[in-house]
């Protein structure tokens, strides 16, 4: 509400403001200069018909946000760079950024915090340096790490988490962490344990932004069906019936490379090594010539090997802006947050669609309903694993299953450690009965898609 000043008060106020307004450069000693936060102050000091019902405008809101709000930005790539810029310019000062990658030349068309001299350096470090040096007062802290390198004590310190990740597995993992931080007292969720997660994703000219309030709104796993499954070509096509140039490249990647080991016995194909890609390209051309297939190019080869997703600056700018707006809204309680999922597409004109993604009643991540497995006692363990990986609502990657059998904890199957994989492989073709499992028994399943072991109850159908 505006002041209802009398003429003299008004005149003095005008002088005061005018003095504050005169600038050419800033106040060198503090990194504040008058007028710097005017744009943002206007939001917070005026209420209007669109502001949040609980919102009380005040200059204190701005100070609070600047000083105390701690934001975690996950990813310093296409979205991450834009997010850091948007958040820092909005006034957030306590930013942490996590990214496990180093800078590649193909990042430079959109990850604008990096220059060609930075190629090879950790993204998180360079991004934080750039932000801190260009935006006075900002204290961005970099972490050149995987998100899985931290446990819940790290994540608990943040008021809001905003993600610019490029993998669904990573999103699900983070989703699991914030869910594990929730505190329930007598079955009632303590709102102070909620850390809002704002998740953005882009691909070419498409993108989406969503707000997740763990325990309250739909989580990542609630909407797993929204993510299209990854395309993998059938093996028989690759091995004996190629039709597309992509089939030829996959043949070389999956079958020829392990056979010919062109760069040494233990050398794995590295999509970022031009020499490796050149070899794959040449061999793919030979393969294609055998079958009269046209269209194999170096660019296509690299695209298939690295599973490249096209990307431009503009889509990342749009989605990051949407996400940063939500961070601002939630941090200041100034406006009602997005409820809760927005999709964007600018292939034909500009299209946005906003909807409320619903919580899934039996969500494997957030519903707290124990999960049941129903199999016949004569089913093989492999069938159970197939269900865990193929079910649309679980979509696990390489589940490891343990169970208590005859009082002892037994690993039934684990893929990630070679020696254990070899030892437990015969179990896959044994029946559940043969493995000593009983009706109503608990199975513990670990997987990259979740930070905590998931418990299932096994029921025999026959």
């Amino acid at each position: 509400m505006a002041e209802t000043d009398e003429p003299e008060k008004k005149r003095r106020r005008v002088v005061e403001l005018t003095e504050k307004m005169v600038v050419d450069g800033g106040n060198g000693s503090t990194c504040e200069w008058d007028g710097r936060w005017n744009h943002i102050k206007k939001f917070l000091e005026r209420s209007g018909p669109f502001t949040h019902p609980d919102f009380e405008p005040s200059t204190e809101s701005l100070q609070l946000m600047l000083e105390t709000c701690k934001i975690l930005v996950i990813g310093a790539g296409g979205l991450g760079c834009e997010l850091l810029k948007d958040l820092a310019l909005s006034g957030f000062r306590n930013l942490h950024v996590v990214d496990m990658d180093t800078i590649d030349i193909s990042n430079l068309n959109r990850q604008f915090l990096f220059r060609s001299k930075d190629v090879g350096r950790p993204k998180a470090d360079v991004a934080a340096d750039f932000i801190n040096s260009r935006i006075p007062g900002c204290r961005a802290v970099p972490h050149f790490k995987k998100i899985q390198d931290f446990d819940e004590t790290f994540y608990r310190q943040f008021h809001i988490i905003v993600c610019g990740l490029d993998s669904i597995v990573a999103r699900r993992w983070l989703n699991g962490v914030v869910l594990s931080l929730l505190v329930y007292e007598d079955g009632v969720l303590d709102p102070r344990s909620i850390i809002p997660v704002i998740d953005g994703g882009t691909e070419g000219f498409k993108g989406n932004a969503r707000v997740i309030l763990p325990g309250m709104t739909a989580c990542i796993d609630c909407t797993l069906e929204l993510y299209p499954p990854q395309i993998n070509f059938p093996m028989c096509t690759i091995a004996s019936m190629p039709r597309l140039p992509e089939h030829c490249v996959e043949f070389v990647r999956v079958l020829l490379w392990p056979k010919e080991k062109p760069f040494g016995d233990d050398v794995i194909l590295d999509g970022d090594d031009p020499a490796h890609i050149q070899w794959v390209y040449q061999k793919s051309l030979e393969r294609a010539a055998e079958f009269n297939i046209t269209g194999v190019t170096y660019r296509l080869t690299q695209g298939v090997v690295k599973r490249i997703i096209p990307a431009v600056a503009s889509t990342n700018a749009v989605i990051a802006a949407a996400c940063a707006t939500e961070v601002f809204k939630i941090a200041t309680s100034a406006y009602t947050p997005l409820n809760n999922y927005m999709v964007f597409n600018d292939v034909d004109g500009l299209y946005t669609y906003t909807f409320e993604a619903e919580r899934k009643e039996n969500c494997s991540a957030c519903s707290q309903i124990p999960l049941d497995l129903h199999f016949s006692s004569s089913s093989k363990l492999q069938e159970v694993l197939d269900y865990l990986t193929e079910s649309a609502s679980l979509q696990m990657k390489s589940p490891a299953v343990t169970a208590t059998v005859e009082g002892k904890n037994k690993t039934l199957y684990l893929q990630s450690v070679a020696s254990i994989e070899q030892r437990t492989r015969p179990n896959l073709s044994k029946t559940l009965k043969e493995l000593g499992l009983t009706d109503g028994q608990e199975l513990a399943v670990a997987d990259v898609t979740t930070p905590q072991t998931m418990l299932f109850r096994l029921y025999f159908t026959s």
């Binding site: 690299q302 096209p310 700018a317």
Partner: protein
């Protein structure tokens, strides 16, 4: 050094080259963009154009630095932007657009596109008129609080490569061309061994069964659900059975059955393309006609002659279960037909052979965007009253922001400042603003009972204009960051 620069550019731009190709990139690198007003909004848009590698930009700005915009102004802006991408050259003109319009309006004719940010109404209209006559596309952007606004002003913008999502295939199964029919004849499903039978492309299978169906149904395609279901069953009966009469696992037949619905779609010319054929530009080709219209006319001639009422064949088929040889042979039948059709179109056009190929391949997806001029939008006689009133029936419509922004512009015209810049002005300005809204509404006799996001979008729309790929919006886009909703309006 040339080769090294080219190679490193290919690497740097790799992710975007996969979207608009080398020719799209070339169009960008030949572009010279003008940005008017180096505000935070303007420089953010320009950043998203410099990063993908436009050839050059020129910032026009007559304002001096104020506290709110430190770090985003004029000269400093040009330097910062250039530093983002050394391939781009930047210039700066310290002059207001109004002065330039007074002294040298032809200054603006050199640009590929002009982007104006937070321009007052009078400047917009003056500049709009100059650019309209010079056929220079004009993109207006405004951000106001949590509302973003964009307006595209271009008389005619042609798009050959619109890159549609989920386009239907062009298989011509309802009217098979001679070469395809001959190819189908080379198959005898009844005498094939199991391996060949299971690896015959589904297109061939549908074609074969259609032939049989035609002979039993008086040359009529399956029309309704009942007939299509019968046709599917017909195909299903063709699946090989083992010695016990149990059907074998023939994925190609399953594919055929699954694709019956779309495969039987009638080949027809989309209405968007028919409208283009009927437009004046297509029918009065002169030596001044842009190549788009020349080629479109050639396609129209093809349709009425060699094409027998249909567009040139696109020439691509989707992947499907088949052995390599059968698939490649079938693919080649379509490819060769497409080349043949393109050659026929070429005969209707003397030159431009490269582009003709693209026009034929994209014939179903050609688009032209025509925006109303600003003069038409703002004039009392031609304002789009219907669009405004029908939107205002819905209380959540973004149209209210459009009216507000116009009212804000009107306010500026009257008071030479924007409303509510200082806190003490707010209350008084609210009533003044209401008057502006009312005056605006009264003037149009409407009787109606009143960002960063837009900036990324603005850059991409500019790229669409420059590259002539993908379809730009027409003609007003409003984004509401409060609700994260948006609307495209034609005003």
């Amino acid at each position: 050094i040339m080769a090294a620069t080219k190679a490193s550019k290919e690497q740097k731009y790799d992710r975007q080259l996969r979207l608009w190709g080398d020719h799209g990139q070339e169009a960008l690198e030949n572009a010279h963009i003008c940005l008017i007003n180096a505000t935070a909004t303007g420089t953010e848009i320009l950043k998203n154009l410099v990063l993908p590698g436009i050839g050059a930009f020129t910032i026009v700005d007559g304002h001096t630095v104020t506290g709110e915009d430190v770090g985003n102004k004029a000269h400093a802006a040009t330097e910062l932007l250039q530093e983002l991408n050394s391939d781009v050259s930047g210039n700066f003109v310290e002059e207001s657009p109004d002065k330039l319009l007074d002294n040298d309006p032809e200054f603006f004719h050199r640009f590929t596109i002009v982007i104006g940010v937070q321009l007052p109404e009078s400047t917009c209209l003056r500049l709009g008129s100059v650019l309209w006559s010079a056929s220079v596309p004009f993109l207006l952007c405004k951000t106001y609080g949590l509302v973003g606004y964009m307006r595209l002003v271009v008389q005619e913008h042609t798009v050959i490569e619109s890159h549609p999502d989920n386009a239907l295939e062009d298989l011509r199964l309802d009217q098979p061309f001679a070469e395809f029919q001959n190819h189908v004849k080379s198959y005898d499903l009844d005498s094939m061994d199991k391996k060949d039978h299971s690896h015959t492309p589904w297109i061939i299978i549908v074609a074969k069964y259609l032939e049989k169906w035609f002979s039993e149904h008086n040359c009529r395609l399956p029309k309704n659900y009942k007939e299509k279901e019968a046709f599917r069953q017909f195909i299903r009966e063709g699946i090989l059975k083992n010695e016990n009469g149990v059907p074998e696992d023939e994925e190609n037949f399953e594919e055929a059955i699954k694709n019956v619905n779309t495969a039987l779609n009638l080949t027809k010319i989309p209405s968007t393309v028919e409208d283009l054929f009927n437009s004046e530009q297509c029918n009065s080709i002169t030596s001044q006609s842009p190549s788009f219209w020349v080629m479109l006319r050639a396609v129209k001639e093809f349709v009425h002659n060699e094409g027998n009422g249909s567009l040139p064949v696109r020439g691509t088929i989707p992947d499907m279960i088949a052995d390599s040889q059968k698939f490649i042979n079938l693919q080649n039948v379509y490819r060769e037909k497409a080349l043949q059709d393109a050659a026929a179109v070429s005969k209707h056009v003397e030159c431009l052979l490269q582009s003709v190929g693209k026009v034929c391949k994209n014939a179903s997806f050609l688009r032209v965007v025509r925006c109303r001029s600003l003069a038409e939008e703002y004039s009392v006689d031609s304002v789009n009253k219907d669009e405004i009133t029908s939107c205002m029936d819905n209380p959540d419509s973004e149209m209210v922001f459009y009216l507000m922004l116009r009212a804000v512009d009107r306010f500026y015209q009257q008071h030479s400042r924007y409303p509510g810049v200082y806190n003490y002005q707010v209350e008084e300005d609210i009533s003044k603003l209401k008057l502006s809204v009312n005056s605006l509404l009264q003037e149009y006799i409407l009787g109606v009972n009143f960002c960063h996001y837009v900036l990324g979008s603005a850059a991409q729309e500019a790229i669409k204009i420059i590259s002539h790929q993908f379809v730009p919006f027409n003609n007003t886009f409003i984004y509401n960051a409060m609700s994260q909703t948006s609307a495209t309006l034609q005003l």
